[in-house]
């Protein structure tokens, strides 16, 4: 039974990895051919290998880790971060950053929850929550492109605005009742399909959609191209502003979707939902090999990055290590992952 669980989770990850084309450094690559040397050199391979070692090591130290129930619980816990990371990756690939995703998760969940509490139709309430997040992202995008602000500023502002707006709606009191559609709403985040928690399925869907979008569509190509050389893109007629605005809007939209699902999963709409998550999201993206300088990285990497953090958190709990140390461990992993990538780049560029 335990072995089967091991196989299942691993399989999810390898599948996502297989979808990834075998490009050497995570840049665009038109060839789908699987060349072993390219794959072995890729950051995604390194990070997956690291995950595999971690996965085995923790299981050896603490066999309870390998229980399916535990693995699914871990996967569910990092699914919100990984899915939000897909949106964050879109922004970071253009060379920007979105600090507002955590607060937007909380805000969208509260807004949808509040509308439900007031008796609105469930799908309409969700739609409004999603659109609110997308509009917030779009506003950040407009400020980045049209007002030429460094991405840190408008998204930091939006972090504060969204958090405060959430507090204002709830008046500091968590929303715990979701009106006539309460059961349906709560089942969205708490339910299972074929034994797999809905948030995990949601996460995998986001990764697949994100991967197809980034690697197969002209807009996805444009995101990488802008991250590579924005000026060149403008000169050849790519509407750089519009592509960037799309990225921020998409990031806000996806953060809201994760936030609404998180509210459903926790059965609580509260401003503390998602608060501070932007750091976990950015960490997952960076550990996953998306370059903060823009132009490089993949959503499969983001998935593995989030998985590594989730597994380490779980392992520390299982092994009885003080949860106060989690931040220290995660911090070192972020630094180590980027350091490793630097070394790898240096090695590949010198041969």
């Amino acid at each position: 039974m335990e072995r089967k669980g091991d196989y299942n989770l691993n399989n999810d990850l390898t599948e996502a990895e297989d979808l990834e084309d075998s490009s050497g450094t995570g840049g665009l690559n038109e060839s789908y051919r699987f060349t072993l040397s390219q794959f072995v050199r890729s950051y995604e391979f390194g990070i997956t290998l690291a995950f595999g070692i971690l996965f085995t090591l923790i299981g050896v130290l603490e066999p309870r880790f390998w229980r399916i129930s535990n693995l699914l619980r871990v996967a569910r816990s990092f699914s919100f971060i990984a899915a939000t990371g897909v949106g964050e990756a879109l922004v970071i690939i253009t060379g920007g950053i979105d600090l507002s995703v955590g607060s937007l998760m909380g805000f969208a969940g509260i807004l949808t929850g509040w509308l439900l509490y007031n008796g609105m139709n469930i799908w309409l309430a969700i739609l409004i929550g999603l659109l609110a997040g997308a509009m917030a992202g779009l506003l950040s995008g407009i400020l980045v492109t049209k007002a030429n602000m460094p991405p840190l500023i408008p998204t930091l502002g939006m972090l504060s605005i969204a958090y405060s707006a959430g507090l204002f709606i709830t008046q500091g009191m968590p929303i715990t009742s979701f009106g006539k559609s309460e059961d349906l709403f709560i089942s969205l985040g708490s339910g299972f399909i074929f034994g797999i928690p809905n948030p995990v399925i949601y996460m995998l869907c986001m990764v697949v959609v994100g991967w197809i979008f980034l690697r197969k569509t002209p807009l996805g190509y444009a995101l990488y191209a802008i991250g590579g050389n924005e000026e060149a893109c403008a000169l050849t007629g790519i509407n750089v502003d519009r592509v960037k605005m799309f990225a921020y809007a998409a990031s806000g939209f996806i953060a809201s979707m994760s936030g609404i699902l998180l509210t459903s999963r926790l059965s609580v709409g509260d401003a503390s939902n998602g608060r501070g998550s932007e750091l976990d999201v950015i960490a997952a993206v960076v550990i996953g090999g998306v370059s903060l300088a823009g132009g490089r990285g993949s959503v499969a990497g983001v998935l593995v990055g989030a998985a590594i953090m989730g597994v380490i958190r779980n392992a520390m709990v299982l092994l009885g290590i003080s949860s106060f140390l989690q931040g220290i461990v995660i911090g070192f992993i972020i630094i180590f992952a980027v350091l490793l990538d630097r070394i790898r780049r240096w090695l590949t560029s010198s041969d």
Binding site: S23, G24, T25, G27, L28, N29, E30, S31, K216, T217, P218, Y221, A222, Y224, A225, G227, G228, N229, E231, A232, C233, L235, T236, G237, I238, G295, R296, S349
Partner: protein, 256 residues
């Protein structure tokens, strides 16, 4: 206007008349009349800040002239942005090449014009084919199109930039310091590329300060000095020293 065209044996494809460009109090280009003939390679030379790049940036719509008129094949045209120039068939290869280092060769050659399939997706096979056909036309082989252009040599990178310009089928091609960062070998390769494009009927301007390199390939050389056009000479009728004299003093050397 027709009579004017008949006067010259090869009508100018580009004619810029009375072009002046001021940046605040500074006059970068001062009442310049410039002419590019159909199917020629023209060298545009001069010191730093002589106005070479500024003049060409006006032609491709990156700058707006303070005064002056541009004629394209005899017709007055307004070129307000690079898109207008592009529509007329005027392409430029920038000195910094404007490549996306993180992308492969086909993605760069067809930057922003990636072919699609089913409306939604990039057709990578067609992209590769198109890139191959452009490179074949230039007689160039790049081992692996998949590798990031960051990993290519300076000459190969220049080739990718030229290939992008060529893929638009331009009538006029402006090359801004195409040999600036290249080895002598790669330089001569790029220049012979310009020659073969001329054979196909492309009219070319090469902006450079390396006089000796363009002496072999240009038909005419225009010299700018402190924003003024001080002379245009047929390359076959002058020596390098003559042109150097024009660059330095702005005057033709007295022949004995």
């Amino acid at each position: 206007m027709t009579s004017e065209v008949k006067e010259t044996s090869t009508p100018p494809i580009i004619k810029m008349v009375g072009i002046t460009k001021k940046f605040g109090g500074l006059t970068a280009v001062d009442d310049v009349d410039f002419e590019l003939r159909e199917g020629e390679i023209l060298g545009l030379v001069g010191d730093n800040a002589a106005g070479k790049s500024t003049l060409m940036k006006i032609l491709i719509g990156a700058y707006e002239a303070t005064k002056g008129q541009i004629y394209y094949r005899g017709k007055p045209v307004r070129i307000e942005d690079p898109h207008d120039a592009h529509e007329l068939g005027i392409e430029i290869i920038y000195q910094n090449l404007a490549l996306c280092d993180n992308l492969g060769v086909p993605e760069n050659v067809l930057l922003g014009r990636w072919p699609r399939k089913w409306g939604l997706f990039v057709d990578s096979a067609s992209m590769k084919n198109k890139t191959h056909s452009v490179l074949d036309r230039m007689g160039i082989e790049i081992q692996s199109l998949d590798q990031e252009v960051a990993t290519l040599s300076g000459g190969k990178r220049q080739t990718v930039a030229v290939a992008r310009a060529i893929s638009f089928d331009p009538d006029v091609l402006i090359m801004d310091e195409p040999t600036a960062n290249l080895s002598p070998e790669a330089s001569s390769h790029v220049l012979s590329l310009a020659e073969s494009l001329r054979e196909e009927g492309v009219s070319i301007v090469i902006i450079t300060h390396r006089l000796s390199e363009i002496f072999g390939v240009t038909d005419r050389i225009s010299v700018l000095r402190r924003g003024k056009l001080v002379g245009t000479v047929n390359t076959s009728e002058v020596t390098e020293d003559d042109v150097l004299e024009l660059i330095i003093s702005g005057k033709r050397r007295d022949r004995d």
